[in-house]
């Protein structure tokens, strides 16, 4: 039995302890904003925050998260999250949209750590998130916009 908090609520899981957090969130908790894209931590579509840090949930066995706080796209909130979501809609970043939960979770984590990121900071924080629609140009611009909006 693993106990953790998910978007602020205490949850337990008593299935196979090898089950990746991704499938616990999607199949058992039925929160489907967090996506499957590769299963091997190559694409970032499954990014969640684990104790405040971005984490690829597809390679995180649920057994490892005992006592941890998990936040998904459905639960992310605060100054940085608001700024990122506003910037994302302002620039109409998504195309197919499938990877965008992961992109946003990585972008929020970046801004939480680096409020005014450079292009190099963005490359470093976001290179693990693939977007096959290649919305990268707008992702970069939206992160800069979000950072600017937090200053004001």
């Amino acid at each position: 039995m693993v106990t953790f908090t998910l978007n602020g609520q205490e949850r337990t899981f008593d299935g196979d302890p090898d089950t990746p957090l991704l499938w616990v969130i999607r199949d058992f908790e039925k929160l489907t904003g967090t996506k499957y894209g590769c299963g091997v931590a190559q694409c970032g579509a499954c990014t969640v925050h684990l104790d405040g840090m971005p984490r690829r949930s597809c390679v995180t066995p649920v057994a490892m998260i005992e006592g941890s706080e998990v936040v998904t796209i459905e639960g992310i909130s605060g100054t940085e999250a608001d700024a990122v979501k506003t910037a994302w809609t302002g620039l109409d970043v998504p195309q197919c949209g499938y990877c965008q939960s992961g992109q946003i979770m990585s972008a929020v984590a970046l801004l939480q750590m680096v409020p005014k990121p450079t292009d190099a900071d963005i490359d470093g924080a976001m290179a693990g998130n693939i977007c096959r629609c290649a919305t990268y140009h707008r992702i970069r611009a939206a992160i800069h916009n979000a950072a600017s909006s937090m200053e004001g």
Partner: protein
């Protein structure tokens, strides 16, 4: 077929115009389990026409006959309706239409389908008419109610007014009454000069749900008691199951069943992880007797052997043999080999099946040809087509992957469902490995180019031979193999283009921009090489040969202007040019590159000019150019599916089938040529020019022409 040929006949229009004005109901109970979105939207809304529903809450819902997987048809089609309806953008909504090959036909295909960058092009008049008809019916309903002449009614931004009496209303109050009226046969359309929404950067309708995690894709549909199924596939194309042992798989907690299906061995489980773990635990012996056993290298060698043989003639202008015999010529030759490419959309293929009480089945999937999926599923499930409802869902990309004649993916998914007792809903899903190794690739091609330059520095002859699979499965010439080459835009007096079809057991498919993925590269790199040989500027050289192609010339000039072509380029960098027409849209691109850290091109900047006729939503057009550039660039730099010794598929996931990432994405500037031509598509046309533009810059920077893709393989070899 050209855009200009497309006219909705009155008959077609009426067939597709049962106006659906409707009544809004209270929000539906939202269950904890994400449910699929029923095609056609809220059933409680009474129809105004097949494409428009209006709620008593004033919302206008457009039923999109085209799937939304990122290219913007929800927004585009709603814009066309809203324009003629004089709606306010804030009241517009969009959902997928139901499946119906007649009412919801793509007017270019004659059946319901999305592809060929045709969504806006084929809907431009039809959706405007749907909006105009709905408007006319609202006007009549209001005039009847207010007892005033229809001529005195105005509509602006969703408000119906009668100025003299001061009466005013939203649409909702007249929705039901309008729905009962006979639709006008030929609703009058606006003069384009009066457009207030078309041509403006309206925010996209699907952005919000894709920003907060609420957008539902097929993989997200999680009804209670759901069974998850995955199939173990072979590592060789054409291999079949000889025998298998499922003892270990059945021991996995959560695995419910294991069955052989035509395409492999299916594992059924209570959750996704159990299904995947169960599949890993299978032991399967494959029969390779009918499998493709040649490697990519051996295939390329076999392709090259066909260059000298007589092929299928696509174009033969002038006299190519004599032209090459003329005295005093310089000739240039090139062979270019293109690899297999997987589409690798972010959401791998998937489908959900749910049986209703009457035995009929709802299917939820990212259906690009929904009626084909319906027909195939009905056959496999042994049901009448009327008993199978395909509910098109938002899809996490496609790039052509989901547009398959004969719906082979649905064949597998339905077979997996058919093998159960259907008491439980079932989700069939592919993993990324299934996707990368699953075939239906952009085929491998080999091109041989020969060019002749006379003593005056004129290009006098061009011969091009293209070898590869026919995407359309043709025995004779496949136009998609030669498009972009057979209709070479450059005026060259002697032009010969021919093709050879190759039969392989690796299934081919169109990949974002189809034939232009390779012909655009071959043509634009080769012509550039000829210009370099002659000492001509790549922009001036092209313009001199584009006398009969003003729209090509227009985008090239615009891109050159944007890039300030001719201005000094920073030390260590070079620029490259390409211009390609595809799907009736013209795109010119100029790139600036340097040698990157891996020794491969680092693309810093792309200037892109696009002429797609009337720009319905410039914001979406720019997004498609940006995305097309990234998609095309990633493939040219990094991507290949290769068959190793014995025909084994070598790649499996994003670690070895690389996608472009944010640190590799160039800055992109896009400008749209102002045009009054009917709109053409933008989903694909941004892709073809970027590869050759980069290769041209690379050749000018390093002296090395790109003869084999992806580029990263050449520089690391």
């Amino acid at each position: 077929m050209t855009i200009q040929n497309i006219k909705t006949t009155r008959r077609d229009f009426i067939a597709g115009s049962g106006l659906v004005i409707g009544v809004a109901i209270a929000p539906k109970f939202v269950s904890a389990a994400p449910a699929g979105v029923h095609a056609g939207g809220d059933a409680a809304l009474a129809p105004i026409n097949a494409f428009v529903k209006i709620g008593t809450d004033d919302t206008v819902t457009v039923l999109s006959k085209h799937i939304e997987f990122g290219q913007g048809p929800f927004t585009g089609l709603a814009t066309l309706v809203a324009e003629e309806l004089d709606a306010d953008w804030s009241q517009m909504r969009a959902v997928h239409s139901p499946t119906d090959n007649k009412i919801y036909a793509n007017l270019m295909f004659g059946l319901q389908g999305t592809g060929g960058s045709s969504s806006i092009a084929n809907s431009y008049e039809q959706m405007r008419k749907a909006g105009a008809a709905a408007r006319a019916m609202l006007v009549v309903a209001a005039a009847n109610e207010w007892k005033v002449p229809t001529s005195q009614i105005t509509i602006e931004k969703g408000r119906i007014r009668h100025a003299a009496s001061g009466k005013e209303s939203g649409f909702g109050a007249f929705a039901e009454k309008a729905a009962r009226l006979t639709p006008p046969a030929e609703p009058k359309l606006k003069d384009p000069k009066d457009f207030v929404l078309i041509g403006t950067e309206l925010p996209k309708l699907d952005t919000l749900g894709k920003t907060n995690g609420t957008a539902i894709f097929t993989l997200d549909i999680t009804p209670d008691n759901l069974l998850i199924a995955v199939v173990a596939h072979p590592e060789h194309f054409g291999a079949t199951v000889k025998s298998f042992n499922d003892a270990e798989a059945r021991k996995v907690e959560g695995v419910v069943d294991v069955k052989q299906v035509p395409s492999g061995v299916a594992v059924y489980a209570d959750n996704t992880f159990a299904a995947l773990k169960g599949r890993d635990a299978l032991s399967i012996e494959w029969d390779l007797s009918k499998a493709e056993t040649r490697s990519s290298e051996e295939l390329a060698s076999d392709y090259r052997k066909l260059f000298g043989e007589k092929g299928l003639e696509a174009t033969n202008n002038g006299n190519i043999d004599n032209a090459f015999k003329a005295p005093g010529l310089q000739t240039v030759e090139a062979e270019i080999v293109f690899p297999f490419l997987a589409h690798a959309p972010m959401e791998p293929l998937d489908a959900v099946f749910i049986k209703a009480a009457d035995g009929s089945v709802d299917i939820y999937n990212g259906a690009q040809f929904p009626a084909m999926d319906q027909a195939v599923a009905a056959k496999v499930l042994g049901l009448d087509e009327a008993k199978v409802r395909v509910n098109t869902q938002l899809a996490g990309g496609s790039f052509g992957r989901k547009a398959q004649f004969g719906s082979p993916y649905m064949q597998e998914a339905a077979a997996v469902y058919a093998a159960t007792d259907r008491t439980r809903p079932l989700k069939h899903m592919w993993t990324r490995e299934d996707d990368i190794r699953g075939g239906y690739y952009r085929p491998m091609y080999a091109h041989r180019m020969r060019g002749a330059i006379d003593a005056q520095g004129q290009i006098t002859a061009w011969e091009q031979v293209i070898v590869g699979q026919s995407i359309m499965g043709k025995a004779d010439l496949d136009p998609t193999s030669v498009e972009g080459a057979s209709n070479l835009p450059y005026t060259i007096p002697n032009l010969k283009v021919s093709a050879h079809n190759v039969q392989l057991s690796i299934p081919p498919l169109w990949w974002r921009s189809v034939g232009h993925t390779h012909t655009g590269f071959a043509v634009e790199t080769f012509v550039d090489e000829l210009f370099q040989k002659i000492g001509k500027d790549p922009v001036e050289g092209r313009l001199a040969l584009l006398g009969k192609k003003p729209r090509h010339a227009g985008v090239l000039k615009k891109a050159a202007e944007m890039a300030n072509w001719g201005s000094p380029v920073p030390e260590g960098r070079a620029r490259g040019v390409a211009v390609v027409e595809s799907f009736g849209t013209f795109v010119g691109q100029i790139v600036e590159i340097s040698v990157g850290p891996e020794g491969a091109p680092r693309v810093h900047k792309v200037w892109c000019a696009v002429d797609c006729g009337v720009a319905v939503n410039p914001n979406v057009i720019k997004a498609q150019m940006e995305g097309g550039i990234g998609y095309g660039l990633g493939a040219v730099l990094f991507d290949a599916v290769t068959l190793g010794k014995g025909g084994k598929i070598m790649q499996s996931n994003f670690h070895d089938y690389r996608s472009i990432r944010i640190n590799e994405m160039p800055d992109v500037a896009v400008e749209i040529i102002k045009s009054g031509e009917n709109p053409s598509g933008v989903g694909e046309p941004g892709v073809p020019p970027v590869g050759p533009a980069v290769a041209n810059a690379w050749r000018r920077l390093t002296g090395a022409p790109v003869r084999q893709l992806p580029i990263v393989n050449i520089v690391s070899a």
